[in-house]
């Protein structure tokens, strides 16, 4: 890009052709006030706060939309400009209804900050007092149109980053308001409650119910960590006050990899399962009674000794690598057991066996590409997953790619909230997703859709379309999820890889395939060897030790197998169906009280920071296991 030189406030500055005047000012530390500008989003010049004087221009011009040119002479701070900016603020304040004294955002509000900066101690214009709605139907968000300045940051983040296009401007002229779909309440619209609009909003027009009035940012401590919800590994910025969670934001939310979904932004705050804070041991009457940790570990140690060897360990892949490795070491070295698995071990076995049976499967999960590859794709096949439900941020990547021209095909037999975005939705009969994938490679190379149509229930026309789309694609990405994994058919995984390979969809030595792993650290857990290569039945075990953390055991089969176990120890943060069948329950920290390494679904290693200090007397999983080892006469480093 060509270098340009221009003069701003008497200083000669350089930038690149294509930079806006505002970008050059900001890069050089020149403070130009902004309101509708947000780093990472496009600029629209809606608020007029960043007006500057440019030589040979007849009137002040917004710096955010003015392309810098060689030789421009710009002034950013003159008496006239300051007068205009103050007047702009007065116009904004009289346009809608702004009352700071009870507003949730007071103290964190960009509009208020500007009014202070420009010493707006009175308003010279009559107020309009329009009658505007407040929409509070959504579970997590309130949209108060009274406080809206129509900067459009919410609209832009919803379309440019989340690529969901729920928000837009509705009505015309001075009656304009922000509208979800066709003026639906947010909670009944196509909104996916990712909360990006709330983070983008400079005022209190969109705010979160769970965080409201819990503290201003200046009163909080902000900690960056990794989201514990799904396997994408988004970066959270967690605000805490007096060791309580206040709000969660996306650390770099205007970037695709920096955004959050409702799980990370809201559901972590909405946690209301009853917490376990004291160790519990089942007594003769079958009730769980409180014990000290030392007493409890004595009981566990005695039971472990009695059931020598025949003891299995299960660990949640929501724990970081360090805890998982420590648990495995404990099981192997102290308990002397080889029966260790992760809660999601079944997914591991399906995926890894499927990959092993592929022609260059020796590289294991490393054969899969990164989520960013979807952005380069010209065709994306989303198989057996509802991205809106399971991995919403991956959904944003894929919507973004589709809006950039990639063809989007969804293969799912059941109702799928992501499917409306697809160019083509193939709906095979239940359980026939695998057969469809297996048949596609053959159909693409040899033609003939009739047999495949007959076996899978997908219409021949649709099959011809997918053959045309996928067969022609140069950079097709396949993303698959639980709808495939739940059938436990490893040959389908191999078929997916073969399908990608058949059209040569390689990027470097990686295939353009992504499996959606179930938990935040599934990949980390699997790569540390915590998941068992062979399935084993828990029902035959004399004892099982489950390190559950704040995870939930949802697998009915696992639960029913554990029901028959002679001695069940559960180390967990919350009461659950599993604790109601456990013989011993040991408290465990929640995500915010942990630190450690997490590996995302596409292999990014990230460090989670401790956000909250642990509740009084609560020990880390490692400390508990170390103490138990000591009681069993072993020293675990």
């Amino acid at each position: 890009m060509k270098e340009i030189t221009l003069t701003i406030d008497g200083k000669s500055l350089s930038g690149k052709e294509g930079d806006t005047v505002l970008e050059i000012c900001q890069a050089n530390g020149i403070d130009v006030p902004t309101l509708c500008h947000l780093d990472g989003l496009s600029d629209v010049g809606a608020c007029r706060m960043c007006v500057v004087e440019i030589e040979r221009e007849r009137r002040p011009i917004p710096a955010c939309t003015y392309p810098a040119r060689d030789g421009l002479v710009v002034k950013t701070s003159t008496e006239t400009l300051e007068k205009y900016r103050r007047l702009m603020l007065e116009l904004i304040f009289t346009e809608h209804n702004h009352f700071c004294m009870f507003c949730e955002q007071s103290g964190d509000c960009e509009l208020q900050r500007l009014a202070y900066r420009y010493q707006m101690d009175n308003v010279r214009l009559p107020y309009t007092f329009p009658s505007l709605p407040v929409d509070s139907i959504s579970d997590y968000l309130v949209m108060d149109h009274n406080r809206c300045v129509l900067c459009g940051r919410c609209v832009r983040v919803c379309s440019e980053v989340v690529a969901n296009h729920t928000l837009d401007f509705g009505r015309r002229g001075w009656k304009t308001i922000i509208s979800a779909d066709l003026e639906q309440p947010l909670g009944e619209s196509s909104c996916i409650s990712c909360g990006a609009c709330m983070q983008a909003c400079p005022t209190g027009a969109i705010f979160g119910k769970l965080s409201a009035y819990k503290g201003k940012e200046s009163e909080c401590q902000a900690t960056r960590t990794v989201c514990p919800s799904c396997s994408i590994g988004c970066e959270l910025e967690v605000f805490t006050r007096d060791n309580n969670l206040v709000k969660i934001q996306g650390a770099k939310f205007t970037e695709l990899r920096g955004q959050l979904c409702q799980e990370g932004r809201f559901k972590l705050l909405a946690e209301n399962r009853p917490r376990i804070i004291t160790p519990l041991v089942r007594d003769g009457q079958g009730d769980l009674t409180e014990h000290t940790l030392s007493q409890t570990l004595d009981i566990v140690a005695e039971n472990v000794r009695r059931r020598k060897g025949n003891f299995a360990g299960l660990v949640s892949a929501k724990c970081p690598n360090e805890s998982i490795s420590y648990f495995c070491k404990f099981m192997h070295e102290v308990i002397g057991s080889n029966w260790v698995d992760t809660l999601d071990g079944e997914s591991y076995r399906v995926i890894s066996t499927g990959i092993e049976n592929f022609k260059d499967g020796a590289r294991g999960l490393d054969i899969e590409c990164s989520l960013e590859e979807t952005l380069e794709a010209d065709c994306i096949l989303v198989v057996g997953t509802d991205l809106v439900e399971t991995h919403p941020v991956a959904g944003s990547f894929i919507r973004k790619a589709a809006q950039g021209g990639a063809k989007l095909v969804v293969v799912d037999s059941v109702r799928n909230a992501f499917a409306p975005w697809a160019d083509l939705w193939l709906k095979p009969e239940r359980g026939m997703e695998g057969a469809l994938i297996k048949g596609l490679a053959t159909t693409i190379s040899k033609g003939g859709t009739e047999t495949l149509a007959a076996t899978t229930g997908v219409g021949p026309e649709e099959l011809q379309q997918i053959v045309a789309i996928y067969g022609k694609a140069q950079r097709a990405v396949i993303v698959y999820g639980n709808g495939i994994l739940e059938h436990k058919d490893t040959s389908v995984i191999t078929a997916i890889l073969n399908l990608a390979a058949s059209v040569g969809s390689y990027v470097g030595d990686k295939l353009r395939v992504i499996s959606l792993k179930p938990r935040a650290n599934s990949r980390g857990a699997w790569e540390t060897g915590a998941a068992s290569k062979q399935r084993f039945s828990l029902a035959g075990m004399k004892g099982v030790y489950v390190l559950l953390g704040d995870d939930v055991m949802e697998d009915e089969k696992q639960l029913s197998e554990l029901k028959g176990v002679d001695f069940l120890v559960v180390q967990t943060s919350y009461y659950s169906p599993l604790t109601s069948m456990a013989h011993v329950v040991i408290p465990s920290p929640i995500w915010a009280e942990r630190e450690g390494t997490y590996v995302s679904l596409d292999g990014r290693r990230q460090q989670a920071q401790r956000v909250l200090s642990a509740k009084k007397g609560l020990k880390s999983d490692e400390e508990i296991l170390r103490e138990l080892s000591f009681k069993l006469g072993r020293k675990l480093s």
């Binding site: 007071s106 707006m120 101690d121 009175n122 107020y127 009658s131």
Partner: protein
Amino acid sequence: MAKVKVATCWLDCCSGCHMSFLDIDEAIIDIAKQVEFTASPITDIKEFTPVDVGIIEGAVSNVHDEEVAKNMRANCKILMVWGDCACFGGICAMRNLFSKEDVLRRYYIETESTIKGKIPSSEDIPALLDQVKPVNQVVKVDCYVPGCPPTSKAILYALTELLQGRIPVLPSEMMRFD
């Protein structure tokens, strides 16, 4: 040196600004040495006489407020207003989102605790204006101390500036709307 004469009054408000003024702690001793309060809710004198500085707290909501504001303006050389209500309309102006009739009906008849309510009407009761206004829409204002209420620090700053012969403008870091 002759004391500076100051009159204060409150219109449609909660009196929080005056409370905030009384919160200036020991600084009030210095102020009292230099200032004589004439008409004011603090002295409980209602009749305005000519003063150097007039201070108004509150928004203009009814015909009485309008009268008092004009009377204050006529009697003072410099008019300062305190608080969001006087500067911008504030909480009081929230009634502008509804019609005057709706507000009266809601307050006197429909409130859950009211039985057989009646909207009072008498020529002794000042009639509500259609719209609540900040003071500068009724009379000329010379200086403003916003805040809900303004901090005592801001009030003290404004008074000190006035006593030193300057028209106060709150510096950005002292500005508060809440």
